[in-house]
Symmetry: C2
Subunit: 407 residues, 2 copies
């Protein structure tokens, strides 16, 4: 069953925002058994919207569309869909009621927001429980077009709770069977060479995809069709035999979630002491709901003064070895363990870039120290030249290093 | 002068990666005076690539394409372009020489990499100074198609140094004039109603776009053509008169960057004490290169114990008012100011969700306290139901609240 994604908005075409909706929707559609054929981003332009729908409908069964549903006059998607499907706009009291529920806690209704309750007559209206723009679903010559708001959390909520279940009920696409493995210790090409035989001998229809992310690799083994489950299980067994303990987990899970699960199972508490990651480890860990069951807190010691005053790093170590050193990383991690009163800690100190590098300690040099009760591991990593990437990589590395200690 | 961006890769269509190239290219093209009409992402499929080029060339003058130029057999863009433009592949010694220069510092040539030196005969080859895949530029009935690698830093390097200058030399497009305003204190619909008259009376060719983000709004006023600069300035003056102090800044800048600039100008230091934002304020602020000039550190006090032990919040306040209260927010902010020894602080305490809400303090309740020397402001905000969105909104609100105090 073929699908396409169309995102609408002039702000995308001038590069003011990165379209993250398309990738998110594509992932969900793929898992639900649909094949995403193409993604298009186009402007808030009626003619262009109509031409694009026409072209794309000639190739796919399902079009999911986001954007252009705001209350201001540059938002024209709803009106344009009305024209395209030859229907008219009517006022819908149930939409108005939903809008009033949504906004009641923080503002009152004004005229522009009230106008959001106008919807095309011949379509299925799906209420937006987390925003004011209603979702419209058009059935058309056996095909479907759904128009959703471009605000990511609104789109995500309605996709998960309404659109995906309805699409699956309507089309019953071949199940997309997959297993995800989190593999540590390999670069993409090294892993590909190591499992080349396995990959070459996969049965017809099977696929293996590599998703490298900073510090680790996700492997996705997939095939379409419920009847192939047994074959999939056979291949999984083979892969397990080949990779052994390099498999860190057998589910599609983030490192932060995996770490959280392990800590919670073992009844352990965690804290961090962060310099170069600047709070990103704490932020990443606390992005998981329920993380307060194991995460107690952090000290972000961006300045040396804070390393000494709060974490009790010795001035002597700072003077002798510098802030980016094994000694300081260890003292930070142990200091965090003590003052946060936690079982485990992760400490980072390094040069995120773009400035601050030296011959001896170039940009990308990072020391990571992890502690688990009275054990302590400190390692030096040489990351890259890009600040943003270095912060994310050091974050993942810190969590992985602790995970390893917990195994 | 109309342009389109086509990104190629199966990994985009299954949502495995977010296509960030398109937005980056769109930004550069727009500033260089081109109008980006559309962006498409398609698979590594020869037929689909050809059909898409054909369709898109019927609408635009310039196609910029990324992806599908790797050395392995799933990368078919170069061969497909050869077919599409009716030419053949030849071996290019200058490309080989460039490849050898690029890889010499870290590896030796193998056969797959050597094959990168095959290029279409009838095209302009542009050397890739930072990677092994050459860039190919096709002139075709007055139009241009450029194929670049999908690796972001390779694409960016060649775009800035080669492609944009050549495109400008060839087409000499009208400049894109724009002004961006960061506006605080309005929802999108409230702002639209407030400036409706201004918007209705904009001169022909002018546009006004709204980009809402958590806690603030970006307004972009734009027009094409260097000769319209004076008119633009007139409209800017009008908008300034209407919005007055609601304009937080007149540039396209993030809140964290703006806050950093103000702190640095005034020689002030900053620290944070974060509970519900879990380190995201520190992370957001330290994502800016050079933030160590004003940011000293944070205490992430996720557990009450850390609020008391490290930030010196009184147990009495916690008992009497609860962790999510004005008293605790104020004590956290003042505690941070003291123990981090900073001029300014931002403190957050709230219920990010999805659990933990009560009748009296539902999910989304957040207290934000900001201090600037001996001044202190604490405000309660009622945010939404979604953890991720609440963390981002509370982060922006905290930075905005401090910015307001600094004005």
């Amino acid at each position: 069953m073929k699908a396409a994604i169309i995102t609408i908005g002039d702000e995308i075409l001038i590069g003011q925002i990165v379209d993250t909706n398309s990738a998110w929707i594509a992932q969900k559609l793929t898992l639900a058994g649909f094949e995403v054929e193409e993604m298009q981003s186009i402007g808030d332009d009626a003619q262009q919207i109509k031409v694009t729908i026409e072209e794309v409908f000639s190739r796919v069964d399902v079009i999911l569309m986001t954007g252009g549903l705001g209350p201001t006059k540059d938002d024209i998607t709803k009106k344009t869909l009305c024209d395209y499907f030859g229907t008219t706009m009517i006022f819908d009291d149930s939409v108005l009621e939903n809008i009033q529920n949504v906004i009641s806690s923080f503002t009152t209704l004004n005229e522009l927001t009230r106008n959001q309750a106008y919807v095309p007559k011949d379509c299925t209206v799906i209420q937006n429980r987390v925003g004011t723009a209603p979702i419209t679903w058009f059935d058309y010559i056996g095909k479907v077009l759904v128009s959703m708001p471009g605000v990511p959390h609104e789109m995500r909520y309605v996709m998960e709770n309404e659109i995906i279940p309805r699409l699956q009920a309507k089309y019953d696409p071949d199940a997309y069977l997959k297993r995800v493995f989190i593999v540590k210790g390999y670069t993409e090409s090294a892993l590909a060479m190591y499992i080349a035989d396995f990959e070459d001998n996969l049965p017809e229809g099977f696929g293996l995809a590599y998703l490298p992310s900073p510090g680790l690799m996700k492997l996705r083994l997939f095939v379409r069709g419920e009847h192939r489950l047994e074959e999939l299980n056979e291949q999984v067994k083979k892969l397990q035999d080949i990779l052994g303990s390099a498999i860190l987990a057998e589910k599609d899970i983030t490192v932060e979630k995996l770490l959280g699960e392990r800590l919670f199972e073992k009844g352990l508490s965690l804290g961090t002491a962060e310099s170069c990651t600047g709070g990103n480890i704490a932020h990443t860990i606390t992005s998981i709901p329920g993380s307060s069951r194991y995460f107690k807190g952090s000290v972000i010691s961006y300045a040396n003064e804070e390393k000494v005053n709060i974490l009790h790093v010795s001035q002597d170590s700072l003077d002798r070895f510098g802030a980016v050193s094994e000694a300081v990383a260890v003292e930070m991690a142990k200091g965090a363990q003590e003052i946060l009163n936690v079982d485990c800690s992760i400490a980072t100190t390094g040069i995120a870039g773009p400035d601050g590098g030296t011959e001896e300690k170039p940009v990308g040099t990072v020391w990571v120290c992890t502690t688990y009760k009275d054990r302590c591991v400190a390692r030096k990593y040489q990351l890259g030249r890009f600040r943003e990437a270095n912060i994310v990589r050091a974050t993942n590395i810190g969590m992985l290093q602790l995970l390893e200690m917990l195994e």
